[in-house]
């Protein structure tokens, strides 16, 4: 249906061009070269004006000669000159060339006169050029032309745009052209029917441009009247007090109807100050004027006596607001179009809302996977082994700095990432093992002191990093193939880095579950954490297992550090940013269980994004409320979401 309408429209728009084309073809000897056509309109081109240049441009456009766009550009750029006989030349870099072949002719510039089109003519030339650019063989130029049209929708572009659609070879650009034509029809179409149809067609369009077209059609203007005129295309009636403040409403009416203004306390005071006589104003001592009520009463008495201009009292304001109606009307006079646009806008908004919800969900998942990555090492050392490691955040930082150092040595970002991941694991694994051997081993029976000792290590490591790398943030650049974002529709987008982090988080989950549940090491780890002495009597070396487990947890923290460094800046304090959150994640999820950590990270990530969505301007508040929620949550489920039962729970 719409297509046929469009075709009719095209025919209608196209016919004047077709008519003029025949005219000029007759005048210009049918075909011939560019110079011939130019000569046919010699005076129009040599001394162009906005009102008369049309036929010349039409003749050039319809000639179909390959040199026409280039000539138009030169004409626009004042590069066209002509000699005494009226022949045209193109002059570039003071070289006189032929208009068609562009070969230097060796003529003297002094003998020629320049064609100087004025602003109006240049605009007309530019419009004619859009026509050519829209069917230019170079896709980049076609795209540029479309961008230019989209930036500034103008009814005159409809014709050329429509004409270029059929010949468009690129499917994406063709779609875009059809869309743009639809925008133009919706806003400037000839008949109401066309416009309503075009507006309805916008329902599936979530792009910013499409939504802008709708809101432009629905643009309103506030008006004031004692009764609403019958013919107005009414958008809504504004109620003072609910839709806008009574003072603002009164101010609008006062401006229109020339009523006395509302005085602010400061203005009232300034006005009173002009009336001071011998320390008194209207027989009131100025020292008595220290409340707002007395000041207003004094002013009103002076105003009644004609000494001060009248002001709007609360009574005036109420009476005026009762007498007038404030309403908004659409700038668009046709109610059918605005109704259709409103219906379409509602449909679009609900789709945009759904997309935003999906986008929020994606954000929440990616935040959850970052928390999960940060916490998963802790899920092993704290969750499985029960060791509080306050330096866990510093292991994350060490991993990130390892990535940074590798990038300084290996310039290729992809290769350096491949090198950095295992290297970060090795570095933090070693650090973890060293820490376990030197410090934690001695404190297994004193958990609170483990907390303090590891905290000491944390301060030392943080300061050490600051001494080595300085206080400024170091970049960890991601390889090119991780740049950009996956655009699902106009609203939903997710950057590839976040997807990569999500995938990495899943990989770790799988890897960890495999190690703990399916390997000899995992069996021994679980045995040692449940009952070290029994495990020892079965021939397991608990010391070695604890060392290995702690190293594993620390190593994973290092890899997480590389991933987090790609997404955030690498600083010596980055670990401290994650440590409390990570402990929360493990505690909320349930200690001693990898699935619990996943649940905890999901809950915290979703919660934080949800609160941020409710109050988008304030991420600090979101974090505050989230922590408060977690504190309360732990009160009611002290063992976390996934609580271990039976003997595994230990206690």
């Amino acid at each position: 249906m719409f297509r046929t309408l469009l075709a009719v429209l095209l025919l209608f728009l196209g016919s004047p061009f077709a008519a003029s084309a025949q005219n000029s073809a007759g005048g210009g000897d049918g075909n011939g070269d560019l110079q011939t056509i130019l000569q046919a309109h010699q005076s129009l081109i040599a001394k162009p004006s906005r009102s008369t240049v049309g036929p010349a441009l039409d003749a050039l456009k319809t000639s179909g000669l390959p040199g026409v766009p280039a000539f138009l550009e030169d004409w626009q750029a004042k590069n066209v000159w002509f000699d005494d006989t009226g022949l045209f030349y193109v002059v570039r870099n003071k070289q006189v060339t032929d208009v068609t072949t562009r070969e230097p002719l060796g003529l003297d510039l002094a003998a020629l006169s320049q064609v100087k089109p004025n602003g109006g003519v240049r605009k007309a030339i530019a419009e004619a050029l859009v026509d050519f650019q829209l069917s230019d063989p170079d896709i980049a130029r076609r795209r540029d032309a479309l961008n230019a049209i989209a930036r500034n929708l103008d009814p005159s572009q409809a014709g050329p745009l429509a004409a270029s659609i059929d010949g468009e070879p690129d499917a994406g650009l063709k779609l875009r052209k059809e869309r743009l034509l639809n925008y133009l029809t919706a806003r400037y179409g000839q008949s109401e029917k066309d416009r309503v149809a075009a507006v309805r067609d916008l329902a599936g369009d979530l792009s910013v441009d499409g939504r802008a077209v709708l809101s432009q059609i629905l643009a309103t203007k506030a008006r004031i009247a004692q009764t609403i005129p019958e013919d107005a295309n009414l958008a809504r009636v504004l109620k003072p007090g609910t839709d806008l403040a009574p003072e603002a409403a009164y101010a609008m009416i006062a401006e229109e109807a020339d009523l006395p203004p509302i005085l602010t306390p400061a203005a009232l005071k300034t006005a009173l100050e002009t009336q001071v006589q011998d320390g008194r104003i209207a027989d009131v001592s100025i020292n008595a004027l220290d409340t707002a009520e007395i000041r207003e009463a004094t002013y009103d008495r002076l105003a009644a006596a004609g000494q001060l201009p009248p002001r709007a009292t609360p009574g005036d304001i109420a009476a005026t607001l009762a007498a007038y109606t404030i309403f908004e009307t659409y700038n668009e006079p046709s109610a059918d179009i605005t109704d259709a646009a409103r219906a379409t806008q509602e449909a679009v908004n609900s789709r945009v809302g759904a997309s935003q919800a999906a986008d929020l969900a994606l954000d929440a998942i990616s935040l959850a996977s970052i928390y999960f990555l940060a916490a998963i090492g802790l899920a092993i050392t704290f969750g499985v082994m029960g060791v509080i490691n306050m330096a866990h955040g510093e292991f994350i930082m060490m991993g990130a700095y390892t990535g940074y150092v590798v990038q300084q040595v290996v310039p290729n970002y992809t290769v350096s990432l491949i090198v950095a991941l295992p290297l970060a694991f090795a570095v933090t694994f070693a650090a973890g093992v060293a820490m376990e051997r030197l410090v934690i081993r001695h404190l297994y029976t004193r958990p609170l002191e483990t907390l303090l000792a590891t905290f000491g290590i944390s301060i030392a490591l943080q300061q050490l990093a600051k001494n080595i790398f300085g206080t400024q943030a170091r970049p960890l650049t991601s390889p090119g193939w991780l740049d950009g974002a996956w655009q699902i529709n106009e609203v939903i987008a997710i950057s590839y880095i976040r997807i990569a982090i999500f995938v990495l988080a899943l990989l770790f989950l799988a890897l960890l579950l495999f190690i703990l549940k399916r390997t000899r090491l995992g069996l021994e780890v679980r045995a040692v954490t449940q009952n070290p002495r029994m495990a020892a009597s079965m021939g397991i070396n608990p010391d070695k297992i604890k060392m290995m487990t702690f190293g594993l947890g620390s190593g994973i923290a290092g890899i997480a550090g590389v991933a987090i460094g790609l997404y955030a800046k690498v600083t010596s304090e980055m670990g401290a940013d994650y440590i409390v959150q990570s402990f929360m994640t493990v505690v909320v999820g349930g200690v001693g269980n990898v699935w619990g950590t996943l649940a905890g990270a999901t809950m915290i990530g979703t919660l934080q994004k949800g609160i941020e969505w409710l109050n988008p301007s304030n991420t600090l508040a979101a974090q505050t409320y989230m922590i408060l929620f977690i504190i309360l949550f732990i009160q009611f489920r002290p063992k976390g979401i996934v609580a271990l039962k039976g003997r595994a729970a230990g206690d």
Binding site: K466, L620, I631, Q635
Partner: protein, 393 residues
């Protein structure tokens, strides 16, 4: 009773005597009231250190005696500072505003005065109305009540929730740390009603005492801090002695067994937690007028952990240990970070202590936890042991 309490704890008398002597010596040497050998800023540092000693003693009671490693007591300290800071800032701004409005032709309305005060105080965060949080800021007695009430109530509610659900050990530590983090993040917001990360400033100027020079004020604050420390010390010594002290220490050693013996463990813990929080608030209220500024960074979780560091280095489970640890670490820290310590030249690398002090502190802390769990207080034991041996011989 009181005699026997003091007689059983001779260390209290020793401590009070030393504290009194210290205050006297500082007063005599001070710039404001004495011969001027100690600068005003150092008197302030000493006064602040006394306040830190007070909160460290509170921390020692809650951790060293009762076994609750709270990483939230510095939050209570900060709340006390904010509570007193609100009055200091409001009252000072009020006098300034009244003075500037006095020049106007018509006397100001109360609304104009409070608007002017609000825009003075909150101009930096782009607000111009006094938040409801400041409803009592005009009154010193009410704000002083807040110094006690707000930390006390917060600790009561938080402690009741936590102890009731039997959150213990490291879980409780992490929970208190989360509370501190939440509070500091909340205060960092500009619309928290407490000037966001600007904090409250100009607190060293006491309203109504504009004529008193800072040098004299600093000594007065030193006296007040010493007094508070003395009272707090005796109070905590009393709480931790006698039958109640025994129950508290028993809870630290084996909570379940105390419960089985019929004691209501939660009440004891809640009492200790709340009391120490209140004392922390008072310490903060004395500290920040000497520091001059309180901002959310002061409350960050790390501050509470440093508190634990002082107590651990001084020696847990003995009140004078907390004082020793605090004095030792804070003064050493300001010596190292203030550039007082000489750099060490290793030939290939020059160790500058401003950069390396935290590394040293961190490692020293690890060493103390590993090898000297009794901290500096352990030295006292050794001395006593040596003397006892001599007496025997």
């Amino acid at each position: 009773m009181n005699r026997s309490f003091l007689a059983r704890n001779p260390s209290i008398l020793w401590f009070l005597a030393l504290l009194g002597l210290f205050t006297l010596v500082v007063t005599v040497l001070s710039e404001g009231l004495g011969v001027g050998m100690i600068s005003t800023s150092f008197v302030k540092t000493l006064g602040k250190t006394l306040c830190l000693c007070l909160i460290a003693v509170a921390m020692d009671v809650v951790w060293g005696y009762c076994g609750i490693l709270s990483l939230g007591h510095f939050a209570f300290f900060g709340i006390g500072g904010y509570a007193i800071g609100m009055w200091l800032m409001y009252a000072r701004t009020e006098t300034i505003v009244e003075r500037s409005l006095a020049n106007q032709v018509i006397p100001p309305t109360p609304q104009e005065v409070s608007d002017a005060i609000a825009s003075q105080i909150f101009g930096v965060v782009g607000a111009s109305e006094l938040p409801s949080l400041w409803a009592f800021a005009h009154s010193l007695p009410l704000q002083l009540l807040m110094v006690v009430l707000v930390p006390g109530l917060l600790a009561l509610v938080f402690g009741w929730l936590a102890f009731r659900s039997r959150v213990t050990g490291v879980y409780l530590s992490i929970l208190t740390q989360a509370m501190t983090l939440a509070l500091s993040l909340y205060l960092f917001q500009n619309d928290s009603g407490l000037r966001g990360n600007n904090g409250l400033s100009g607190l060293q100027n006491i309203p109504g005492m504009g004529d008193v020079p800072q040098g004299v004020l600093s000594v007065w604050f030193l006296w007040a801090s010493a007094m508070a420390l003395a009272v707090g010390y005796v109070l905590f010594a009393f709480v931790t002695s006698g039958k109640m002290g025994s129950v508290i220490r028993a809870i630290r050693d084996d909570e379940a067994r105390v419960r089985f013996l019929g004691y209501h463990v939660e009440s004891y813990k809640l009492f200790v937690f709340t009391l120490t929080a209140i004392v922390a608030g008072i310490a903060g209220a004395l500290y920040y007028p000497q520091a001059g500024i309180v901002n959310p960074a002061e409350i960050a979780p790390i501050a509470s952990i440093y508190l634990a560091v002082w107590v651990a280095i001084g020696g847990r489970g003995r009140l004078y240990g907390a004082v020793m640890g605090t004095v030792f670490v804070t003064l050493l820290s300001s010596w190292f970070t203030g550039g007082g310590a000489p750099d060490i030249d290793l030939g290939f690398y020059r160790i500058q202590w401003t950069d390396w002090w935290l590394v040293l502190l961190g490692l020293a802390f690890v060493a103390v936890t590993l090898f000297a769990p009794q901290g500096l207080g352990g030295l006292v034991n050794k001395l006593k042991g040596a003397r006892a041996k001599e007496a025997k011989a």
